[in-house]
């Protein structure tokens, strides 16, 4: 018991259950708000379609609402692409920031490292703690949407729901691990948060620009947001190349975090 496995991971999970519960409620609220509205809004000749026809096409493209008349397009545009995306990025960035930079600025990283743990172990166990929480949020969203699939007439394929959840998770992982890496490099919360949130905002903005015209479409292949949603996993199934990029960069950021934290002085 005294030398049980993964002590830092267990502490991270225990410390954050309140926050995890809070983010789960936020995701549930967003899904429960949007999905049941689809039968009233969706469909070829619905009011929503008429409304969108009257909006500037640039705005519709930016919001990703062009396929909103199908259940998959609707769920992707309203939840995974917008409100759910925002919730995931904020949760991922705050947890990624807290993992190293927050702990260092609060002064408790010093005392932890003075004990029988290695710096590599600190980065890996804390990253695992963040990953598990984000996996839960993505899985929870998928299960909730599947639970509403019939009542909300979304007509989604379960495999595709898990495909979009994997992409959704990938977006969270990129922001979280980048926050961890920048925290490990600098020890500063403000930089870690800036990086984690910054990459998401930049990515969303480039994706929006890219969706305006065929000439700019190529931009979407260079952003995490595009890797996640450009090929509409909820409609067409998993975009494996996009997932490899999302998860690959996350792994790279973790490697950078390990190397960075091992090399530098810890701030007092």
């Amino acid at each position: 018991m005294k030398t049980s496995a993964l002590p830092l991971f267990r502490r991270a999970i225990v410390d954050s259950w309140r926050a995890t519960l809070g983010w789960s409620l936020g995701i549930a609220a967003a899904i429960l708000l949007y999905m049941p509205l689809f039968p009233a809004l969706g469909g070829k000749d619905s009011q929503m379609t008429q409304l969108l026809d009257n909006l500037p096409s640039q705005l519709v493209q930016t919001l990703g609402y062009s396929n909103i008349t199908t259940g998959s397009g609707y769920a992707e545009a309203t939840f995974y692409g917008l409100l759910g995306f925002v919730l995931m990025i904020i949760a991922a960035t705050s947890w990624g920031t807290a993992a190293i930079a927050g702990d260092e600025e609060s002064g408790s990283l010093e005392l932890t490292l003075a004990h029988g743990v290695t710096r590599t172990q600190v980065v890996l166990e804390r990253t695992l703690g963040v990953v598990i929480r984000l996996v839960w949020l993505a899985l929870f969203s998928a299960l909730l949407i599947l639970a509403l699939n019939n009542s909300s007439e979304l007509d989604l394929k379960p495999a595709n729901v898990f495909a979009v959840a994997a992409a959704y998770l990938g977006l969270g992982l990129v922001s979280a691990t980048l926050g961890i890496a920048v925290g490990a490099l600098t020890g500063r919360k403000v930089y870690a948060t800036g990086a984690g949130a910054g990459i998401a905002v930049l990515s969303y903005a480039l994706n929006a620009i890219g969706s305006q015209s065929r000439d700019l479409d190529v931009l979407r292949d260079f952003t995490p947001y595009g890797w996640a949603y450009h090929h509409t996993p909820l409609t067409s199934g998993a975009d494996w190349a996009g997932l490899v990029l999302l998860y690959g960069f996350s792994v790279l950021f973790v490697v950078i975090a390990v190397i960075a934290l091992r090399r530098r002085d810890i701030a007092g």
């Binding site: 005294k2 030398t3 049980s4 002590p7 830092l8 267990r10 502490r11 225990v14 410390d15 609060s106 002064g107 408790s108 010093e110 005392l111 932890t112 490292l113 003075a114 004990h115 029988g116 743990v117 290695t118 002085d265 810890i266 007092g268």
Partner: protein, 309 residues
Amino acid sequence: MNSTYALETRALAKHYGKTVALRGIDLAVKPGTVFGVIGPNGAGKTTAIRVLLDIIRPSSGSAEVLGQNPRTGGTALRRQIGYVPGELRLDGRLTGATLLRYYESISGPVAPGAIEALAGRLDLDLGRAVHTLSKGNKQKLGLVQAFMHEPKLLVLDEPTSGLDPLVQQEFLRMVREARDNGQTVFLSSHVLSEIQQAADEVAILRDGRIVIVSDVESLRETAIRRVRVGIMDAAASAVQAALAGIPQLTDLKLSENGELRVEATVEGNIDPFVKAIARFTVSDLALEEPDLEESVLRLYSAPEATDEN
């Protein structure tokens, strides 16, 4: 590299850009002793200590802790160390008991009942959430997590800060018990008086350099004591004449109020003074505990002044 010391540094230096925190210090701490590092804030005490724990890495020079380089000693080495950081900041909703279990899970094994016994000695309530604790109580938590696994080496940076005098005394007893138990204690303070009762040896650190390393007994020999004596049936002039020959005696004040009151400051050896007043009828004698800090500062303020000019 197998040194006979529990802790040793050679020309240990650390600078941050142009700011020099340590200018090359040599320390050697024998196993089973209490070693104090005294110096004003900013002298480099914390920097030196953080190198020993591999929190920061030296710019040059080397350190050896329990015979190993802190950089490569890894978890096995750090499990044998109990550490209280200079700026202990503990927070969170978890209780003190839970926090200590967490630190137990990442350090050496803790004997059953050890945590409760330490908490009892320090009068610390382990059931309260950490973020509701006062600074002093957080400091007690820090002490418990450092002592609880009976580490071979205790590294305590300003361990008494925030503790009230009674708890400080209990802490000093814990330090002496640790030493009697064969553990080595390395502690820092900005006031010598806090640790002079517990330390075997003391290093004075100032501006990143060691000014002197001395055992507390030798410091005591250079100590400054204030004395107050009441003398009956003697004239002031006679007492003055008797004390005139004592070289280490200063600030002599005589006042007559029914009996003769003598106040003075004696530096170093007290014996000539005692012999000198022995010829009179002494009605009262008060000898203050020596203030080693004042002695040290007096001894070393001169060299430092020339350094800076």
